[in-house]
Subunit: 358 residues, 2 copies
């Protein structure tokens, strides 16, 4: 098919909840895609869709049978992504799928195999590859703004527990590792071009849900980088979103407001032996602050930009005009990493020799 740029690709959103309606709003301003309708098993959401100006299909079958629908955007609970996608490919539709795309490596392999067989595109909405905070860190990693980054700590902290309904339930793919973890791990894998040699993790079940209400994972990469990834929903005080150490300094991004700074060694300053300071009942020279001359404090670099938006990229991919920014082999690697983190958390053992890095 040959598409002109003013000929928008048509999208039907499956699952018109928080994320589904958010997609509709974003696509409204997009030049390459347009939403022509929605389908939700909850009739109330169908009504909401109509009030928002989008036709509510009466069934998923009706969506699949509508030749005018080119793309199915799946924004349902996680456990039904795979079946919805397989039906979409069989009906000749492309698929945009919310994250986590599936709850296992095996299911995603089945999904991509079906897409390939139908010669259709599936692209996962790993939208946090476009987050400004992340792009700043990615740029610092690539451009060695504070030397070689050897330590990356990526955290999101909330105090609201697990939100909503199905995210509490194991059968629907709930829990924080699958919800926020998939973003933070995807960001790391898209940044660090090296094999993960080991992962050690703990899962939190302090809220009494059947799914994890948070986790932390320590990752060791073959190139020497170590990373700590943490998601918490019981944190009434937050630690910084990003804390990174390079061979020449340290960087911090506090939160999504982009408050942050970098502090680097001042190579021009004379080296002054630090003076011991009182620390508790003891003295410390090791932990004394460096002299004022010894370091330089600066602003975060301006963020790196992705070559196009998620939706523009998707449109270009189905036209055969560009490569996907979110590649399926990367998505598969993240799902496999998540399985390793669950395994480590459940057994209390370090997991090695698992990474699908090529």
């Amino acid at each position: 098919m040959d598409h002109h740029h003013d000929d928008k690709h048509t999208v039907v959103i499956i699952g018109y909840g928080g994320m589904g309606s958010y997609h509709a709003k974003l696509i409204k301003d997009n030049g390459r895609l347009q939403v022509i309708g929605t389908y939700d098993i909850d009739h109330a959401r169908g009504k909401a869709s109509e009030q928002d100006g989008y036709r509510a299909y009466e069934s998923y079958e009706a969506v699949l049978n509508d030749a005018a629908a080119e793309i199915v955007l799946i924004a349902t609970p996680n456990d039904v992504h795979k079946d919805l996608a397989l039906h979409a490919f069989a009906a000749g539709k492309h698929v945009i799928c919310e994250k986590p795309v599936t709850m296992s490596v095996e299911d995603f392999e089945a999904m991509t195999a079906a897409a390939d067989q139908a010669n259709k595109v599936v692209m996962v909405h790993q939208n946090r590859r476009w987050d400004e905070d992340y792009l700043i860190i990615k740029q610092m990693y690539e451009q060695k703004t504070i030397g070689d980054l050897f330590r990356i700590e990526s955290r999101v902290h909330g105090a609201n527990g697990i939100p909503g309904d199905w995210r509490h339930l194991d059968a629907h793919g709930g829990g924080m590792l699958l919800d926020w973890g998939v973003h933070l791990l995807d960001q790391l894998i898209f940044m660090i071009d090296s094999k993960i040699i080991s992962v050690s993790s703990t899962l939190s079940f302090i809220l009494g849900d059947e799914v994890d209400d948070g986790f932390e994972a320590m990752l060791q990469f073959e190139n020497g980088v170590s990373a700590l990834v943490e998601v918490g929903t019981t944190n009434f005080i937050t630690l910084p979103r990003w804390y990174v150490k390079g061979t020449e300094g340290t960087g911090v991004i506090e939160d999504w407001s982009m408050t942050g700074r970098i502090v680097t060694r001042n190579r021009d300053a004379e080296i002054v032996e630090p003076k011991p300071v009182q620390a508790g009942v003891g003295l410390t020279k090791t932990m004394a602050p460096p002299s004022e001359m010894a370091t330089l404090t600066g602003a975060l670099p301006k963020p790196y930009a992705q070559r196009s938006s998620f939706y523009d990229n998707f449109a270009a991919v189905i036209e055969g005009a560009d490569e996907a920014i979110v590649r399926n082999d990367e998505v598969l690697r993240v799902l496999n990493l998540i399985e390793a983190i669950f395994r480590s958390g459940r057994t209390g053992e370090t997991v090695k020799d698992f990474d699908l890095y090529k």
Copy 2:
């Protein structure tokens, strides 16, 4: 022997460097101990001692042969603690020893066996059990100020690398795990009365020293508490000294100035579902700040007080009037934990079934 309170116990300090001279200053104000001299293999330090008003013994033998010397205080590099202590016991002296008391469990077992045989006291200067920041956290743990603490993060961050001379060298027991690590781990073990079921750690060698320039360790206790202990000497921006999570809130102590706060759930407030906030290119309800009404921010509690100072307690112990605040079975447990952390860091494996908890 029967000692009156105005009859001070006599101390000779072995190793008149940074810590040795610091002890001399502190003991000057103490009512139960007095420094009657020092010995250092470096003659320049002997001169410094005399200028400070303390007799410089010409040899360790001379100290041991001096019947007026009741206590030997060892503040030398770590590798000679054991031999100095064994000679002291043989000469009928009590011993105060700097931390880490020895570089292995085996050596400390030999040291305590020799003390027992000579019927003398050895007590390790784990002075950071008296740190105000630590005592606040210990009190919060015991009194459940923010509910049951289930997560404890204890960090010290500096940017000066490894200080001084012998601390760079493996043979002298250098490195940050033995230097600062021993304090942070000792504090945890003195606070949490539960067996450690697993430890997973990484050691940092980024500065190119033969010893670790920092480490992190994830500890799981049998009672459900998880702890992260981290020492860094390449951190140009510091994370908080303490970050703790309880079932009712979160506490933070930023640094040794005791800046900090606790934020707790407001049980009296109506529960309001948090509103999604923009975070990067996405929305999040999970990580939205709780409504202003939903939490209460308060000051840190006033610190807990130890029942006596280190030196007063030592005097009482040698008089048979009190139990040691720093117990040797605890010190042994910490040394054994340090060995497990080295093992985990070197192999990249989680270490289990090692803790000497009784």
